[in-house]
Chain length 228, copies 2
């Protein structure tokens, strides 16, 4: 399948490398390719600058948001939640039309330091805003409740016996994301459908607890299991 990943941070890199490994033709999008490739900024996952990452992942071309979105049969938003609407506008409404749009973003606002606050919550969510702004896209919220390494390797935590959530208005889109990527590609054993896109609120508002748990445990290699 052709996949366009938007965002070249840790999450975008991790997911696009995994998609490529799974045989999907993947492009990773950024605002300004020349600027991003010249950037000396490094991610915390040890993959270095974007230029270094590109050298080690030549099968995933760095492209513009618009090129990546146009390329993708499925588009994945891995930009920061505070910038996602802008990034998606640059990707272009026409390039999202009718497509499954996986939203893994979190609206973390670090402008007042750590812990960050959420730039949208309680009465709204990033996923809802995206769905509202791009009504022809089939938005599926998922993966935002775990760190990047856990997203693509759930078996690294507790033998995979923990829970991933999906939310969205389009049942077929949720099924495709769940079957092809979450269960099929990444190996998630337990995927819970929380309902329509409004349920993304709870998934995004879980982030402050996630950040506490990461601080206490000192590692992003954890997740929650919903047990009865």
């Amino acid at each position: 399948m052709r996949i366009g990943v938007l965002g070249t941070g840790m999450v975008g890199r991790t997911l696009s490398a995994k998609f490529a490994e799974l045989g999907h033709e993947t492009r990773i999008g950024t605002r300004d390719v020349a600027a991003a490739m010249a950037s000396t900024e490094v991610t915390r996952d040890g993959t270095g600058t974007l230029a270094q990452w590109q050298e080690n992942n030549p099968e995933v071309p760095v492209a513009t948001f618009a090129d990546a979105a146009a390329h993708g049969e499925v588009v994945l938003n891995a930009t920061s939640g505070v910038a996602s609407l802008d990034a998606l506008r640059m990707a272009g409404e026409g390039n999202l039309e009718g497509k499954v749009l996986i939203d893994v973003s979190n609206p973390l606002d670090f402008s007042r330091g750590f812990p960050p606050t959420l730039s949208v919550c309680n009465t709204d969510s990033v996923a809802e805003r995206i769905q509202e702004a791009f009504p022809a896209a089939r938005v599926v919220k998922t993966l935002n409740t775990v760190g990047a390494p856990v997203m693509v390797a759930p078996s690294a935590v507790a033998g995979g016996e923990h829970t991933m959530f999906v939310a969205g208005n389009d049942q077929e889109a949720k099924s495709l994301v769940t079957d092809t990527f979450l269960r099929g590609g990444f190996g998630w054993k337990h995927v819970m459908d929380l309902g329509d896109i409004k349920s993304a609120r709870g998934m995004e508002m879980y982030l402050p607890l996630w950040l506490s748990l990461m601080q206490v445990g000192g590692s992003p290699l954890f997740n929650i299991a919903v047990l009865t």
Copy 2:
């Protein structure tokens, strides 16, 4: 130990009955005893009106907020988070001074229907507001992340292999609550200290996800386990 429980809803009833069963001298407080005892309102747990509950739980006298708080060596806030500051003011600052104040409330605002929103979140929490308003109380946030039946019987879910959180500024208070009540009295096997009272934010903001999970599963008999 003498315990004053504030709030005669499902949570207050469940916890005070359990405290009494454990041998603690417990009183349950309400705004207006005569009005509450005359009320025909019933809780969803099948314990009927407060008068009926009192008849079946004579070892837990219904008292005013102030009487219950004055009685308690430990005070537990089981009022709705949207009304907790008012209830605690009626309980009286002097009756809370130096005492461990367990806050199990959630700021759920149902005024716009279901799902409720939170009346405070993101940059603040009920627990922080309580600690700020009553600086001489030793506030410990806990138990708000599970339904009332799970609070006092964690073994009813997944053999007790799931997680309870505590947050608060007073380490001794957190230890007392954890050892005497959570582990000792109720049987919680896994209690995580998330840090100071600010960590209550994440615990309260988890509620929208909890509500989704309850809707999907159709029962409050569940919890999350934090796994690595």
